[in-house]
């Protein structure tokens, strides 16, 4: 059954490749509303991103573990995202958005570990996002009399200023919720960690990117960056609007990074890391410069690739061992070496270290901040990048390095090939983009033209250009490989031989000899140091759940008040209703 759906996914991509290019479909739903798909460079980029991700995840899926309707739901979700990114008007966009919400809700509810509270969180936040979206849509419609994107972008300037601001806020809130900006991320961690293991990769890699697509669509195309500059004014070399958004993004990425380090559950760490990485994208998406948009797009691509790789890797390990906590895993490197190498490539790219692709997107993002002279933003981003090394290391150490924490882990076998195939493909992408970072400039330039921004200079595949510097990925990659091989050969040629048959207990341990019972894995203690640092502790002890729980209690109290009004005494209720409407009447008359 799995192969059938892989084939369907392949055919989907094939058809899109063959008949895409200049797709334009328009079907009238009613007299005023149409269902229209219009292919743009931006939409095409996101469409391929989601189509290929779904293909890879379907390859990894084992048909024994899930039922047929799981596959069908996943396919519906795939089509829904396709509709979102190619939508030519808001009605189509919203149809796709709703189908995406519901189909993903059903898939998440199929998980073994999901509980009703997390599901409620997910659906509540998704609905809030959708309501905010539809409110924005309706306000736009009331002024432009059209849902069509091209009409809206032409006549957006005619909307009064306060309504423009309302529209920007409503759309931002909607898409921020999907992307999981801090404060609105309450649903993200629970959902990502409790969804079916492989589906988490879709949630993090693709579905959060729909928020990014929405932001790019609204800021870049419908409103336009020039309009945003005129609306909100300018600061330093950038815009006020971009500055506020950049701070939101940086705060998101710093807070989520520290939260990620202290997690004990593997998928919760990845979920927080996902929020942090999207924070980088949010930070540059509002700058309105070529490099800001390019950095956002590049990081979107790389984050998709990396998170797919990491989530599939973790899903395989969880399926193989049945354990999902750092304190229960460990020492798998020599049992599952291929998985280890894949995860290693993933975290090197996630940390943004040079020979792999992760650096290119970070470089683009940093340069965007230099270009606009947003120095503190840049410091904040570099700082959160430095802190992210900790969770990257925790990921690789907690699962693969150190000592096995239980007997079963010592007899594990390599994970099934179906999990490894997509990982190998993804890591090849990371290595290739690391050597040829300039390749992506070719993809970005048409999108920049679409946003009427300047295009980025393109020299060759290996060179990444930006406003304030460039680097040669091919040189770095080949330099790294050459030096590595030379040093390796030199070390191998030394007369001194490595003594390899060491037992894992042959370590210096304060003069004692550790035994099976000694706990030697550092998995659980990892990150506890952070609580002792005042600044970090101040971040860690705060949680958005306090806010939302308080909100829930207040809502209950308020509704309790109303219910008492109704059930208590009918005379009082009638008087209050009468007073309320008479007050409304007087306000209306005046």
């Amino acid at each position: 059954m799995n192969s059938i759906f892989v084939l369907i996914n392949l055919l989907f991509i094939g058809f899109f490749y063959q008949f895409g290019g200049d797709l334009h479909v328009s079907v009238a739903l009613t007299k005023e509303f149409t269902f229209s798909l219009v292919q743009t460079p931006l939409g095409t980029f996101f469409a391929y991103l989601s189509l290929v991700s779904f293909l890879l995840v379907t390859i990894a899926q084992k048909s024994k573990e899930v039922s047929c309707n799981y596959y069908v739901l996943q396919l519906i979700l795939n089509v829904a995202m396709f509709v979102i990114v190619l939508a030519g008007d808001f009605i189509t966009f919203f149809i796709g958005w709703e189908i995406m919400t519901w189909s993903s809700y059903f898939i998440i509810s199929k998980s073994q570990s999901i509980d009703i509270k997390s599901l409620q969180k997910y659906i509540l936040f998704s609905l809030a996002s959708a309501f905010s979206l539809i409110a924005g849509m309706v306000i736009v419609y009331s002024f432009t009399n059209s849902f069509d994107f091209s009409v809206i972008s032409n006549s957006f300037g005619t909307i009064p200023f306060d309504m423009k601001v309302t529209i920007v806020v409503l759309f931002s809130l909607s898409f921020f919720t999907k992307a999981g900006v801090i404060g609105l991320h309450y649903w993200v961690v629970d959902t990502y960690s409790k969804a079916p293991d492989l589906f988490s990769s879709i949630l993090s890699a693709v579905m959060s990117k729909m928020g990014i697509y929405g932001l790019l669509l609204v800021y870049g195309k419908l409103i336009g960056y020039d309009e945003l500059r005129d609306m909100f004014g300018a600061v330093l070399n950038g815009t006020d609007f971009g500055y506020v958004l950049a701070w939101i993004g940086v705060a998101t990425s710093i807070i989520a990074t520290f939260k990620a380090i202290t997690q004990d559950e593997v998928k919760r760490l990845l979920a927080y890391s996902s929020i942090a990485q999207l924070g980088y994208i949010i930070a540059v998406i509002g700058l309105g410069t070529s490099f800001g948009v390019a950095g956002a797009l590049y990081h979107t691509l790389l984050h998709t690739v990396i998170k797919l790789l990491l989530f599939i890797n973790v899903a395989a390990i969880v399926a193989q061992t049945g354990k999902n906590k750092f304190s229960e895993l460990g020492g798998l490197i020599y049992r599952t070496p291929v998985s280890f190498v894949m995860l290693l490539i993933g975290i090197i790219a996630l940390a943004g270290m040079p020979p792999l692709a992760g650096f290119a997107s970070k470089f683009m993002i940093y340069n965007a901040a230099v270009d606009t002279k947003f120095a503190l933003i840049l410091v904040g981003m570099l700082f959160s990048g430095a802190a992210s090394f900790l969770y990257c290391y925790k990921l690789v150490y907690g699962i693969y390095l150190g000592h096995p924490t239980s007997k079963e882990l010592e007899t594990q076998k390599e994970v099934p090939v179906s999990y490894l195939v997509p990982q190998v493909i993804l890591s090849i992408i990371l290595v290739a983009l690391g050597a040829f970072p300039g390749a992506f400039i070719k993809v970005i330039n048409p999108i920049l033209k679409e946003f009427s921004l300047d295009t980025i200079a393109y020299d060759s595949l290996g060179i990444m250009n930006s406003a304030v510097g460039s680097f040669n990925g091919l040189f770095v990659m080949s330099g790294f490989a050459t030096i590595f091989v030379v040093i390796l050969l030199l070390v191998l040629r030394l007369k001194s031989k490595a003594k390899n048959n060491l037992n894992r207990f042959d370590i210096s341990y304060c003069g004692e000899i550790p035994t099976e019972k000694t706990s030697l894995h550092y998995g659980y203690g990892f990150g506890t140091e952070l609580y002792r640092i005042k600044f970090v502790n101040a971040i860690l002890k705060r949680s958005s759940s306090h806010f939302y729980e308080a909100l829930a209690i207040q809502t209950k109290k308020t509704s309790g008040l109303f219910s008492r009004m109704y059930y208590g005494n009918i005379h009082n209720t009638m008087i209050i209703i009468l007073l309320f409407f008479s007050a409304l009447f007087f306000i209306g008359v005046n």
Binding site: A386, F471, N472, F475, L502, I507, G525, I533
Partner: protein
């Protein structure tokens, strides 16, 4: 270019080791000991390289020090050595300051992987402490570097060096940034008060606990190469680069001796004390420098 790279590595190796010997010697003299000779580190390194056996815990343990050495050498290649000289310019022009910042953590990553594969909990504790310290340590340094990049409007190191010919040394033009960067540098060189990751009294010797024989020798050699690269980077960024080898040695030595003197005077901070300290005074100094550049530069 290959010949130049080999020459560069040898230079860094020799200078780095002599500096390390000097460090041990000066420390000893200040503490009232005689101390080892300056060449002691050479002898140690040669001895360790020629050990018959070195304990290894598997292939990741084997490859870790090699990744670390690769990171150091790669960092060295991207740091321009002299003003107005073609020496290795074709290589340095392939990168920029951001690349260098990230290359500098490539080595520690290789080390961390090897330590993790070695499985000594004290080693991992050292690595985690090192990475946690990095959070605090990078902050003033990043502020300083960002300040220079914004002031020069370029992330090209050669450009930043060239600018100093007309404006004067960055050390004098942006003194706040220089102080912030120097405080970070004390930590980057593993000197007190920021030397908690490798503290012998608390965690054996931290990350290096399990390494022996050729692995330890490799770690020592790459350490001296990396130290040289860091010193040259500081000279390039803040002291206007160097015109000749003698000038380079003089300037790097000045920086290095300053770091030694600071390191000797202070005791060791606990991890949280170190990070807390770095997030207060040095960061504030750096921020003053940064604000000067953005609004008054």
């Amino acid at each position: 270019m290959i010949l130049q790279i080999i020459l560069l590595i040898m230079l860094a190796y020799v200078v780095g080791f002599i500096y390390y010997g000097l460090y041990r010697n000066i420390t000893a003299r200040i503490q009232g000991r005689y101390g080892p000779t300056i060449y002691q580190s050479f002898y140690d390194s040669i001895k360790l390289f020629s050990k018959k056996e070195s304990a290894s815990f598997g292939w990741m343990f084997y490859l870790g020090p090699i990744i670390m050495a690769t990171g150091s050498v790669l960092t060295l290649i991207f740091v321009p050595l002299f003003n107005d000289s073609d020496f290795l310019r074709s290589a340095t022009s392939q990168g920029n300051l951001f690349l260098l910042l990230y290359l500098m953590v490539l080595g520690p990553l290789g080390n961390a992987l090897a330590v993790g594969a070695g499985g000594n909990p004290f080693g991992v504790m050292g690595v985690v402490r090192g990475l946690t310290r990095l959070i605090g340590l990078e902050l003033p340094f990043y502020i300083a570097v960002v300040g220079l990049i914004i002031a020069a409007n370029s992330s090209d190191i050669v450009h930043i060096m060239d600018l100093q010919k007309t404006t004067g040394m960055n050390m004098l033009v942006h003194p706040f940034l220089f102080i912030a960067a120097m405080i970070s540098m004390v930590g980057f060189f593993g000197a007190s008060p920021f030397d908690i990751p490798g503290a012998p009294q608390e965690v054996y010797s931290g990350p290096r606990t399990e390494f022996s024989g050729k692995f330890l020798a490799l770690l020592m050699s790459q350490g001296s190469i990396f130290a040289f690269a860091k010193l040259v980077l500081i000279v390039d960024l803040f002291l206007g680069g160097a015109d000749s080898l003698w000038m380079l040695v003089l300037k790097t030595l000045a920086i290095f001796v300053t770091i030694i003197f600071i390191g000797i005077v202070y005791g060791r901070y606990k991890l949280e004390q170190a990070v807390d300290f770095l997030m207060k005074l040095p960061m504030l100094i750096g921020l003053i420098g940064l604000v000067r550049i953005i609004w008054f530069g």
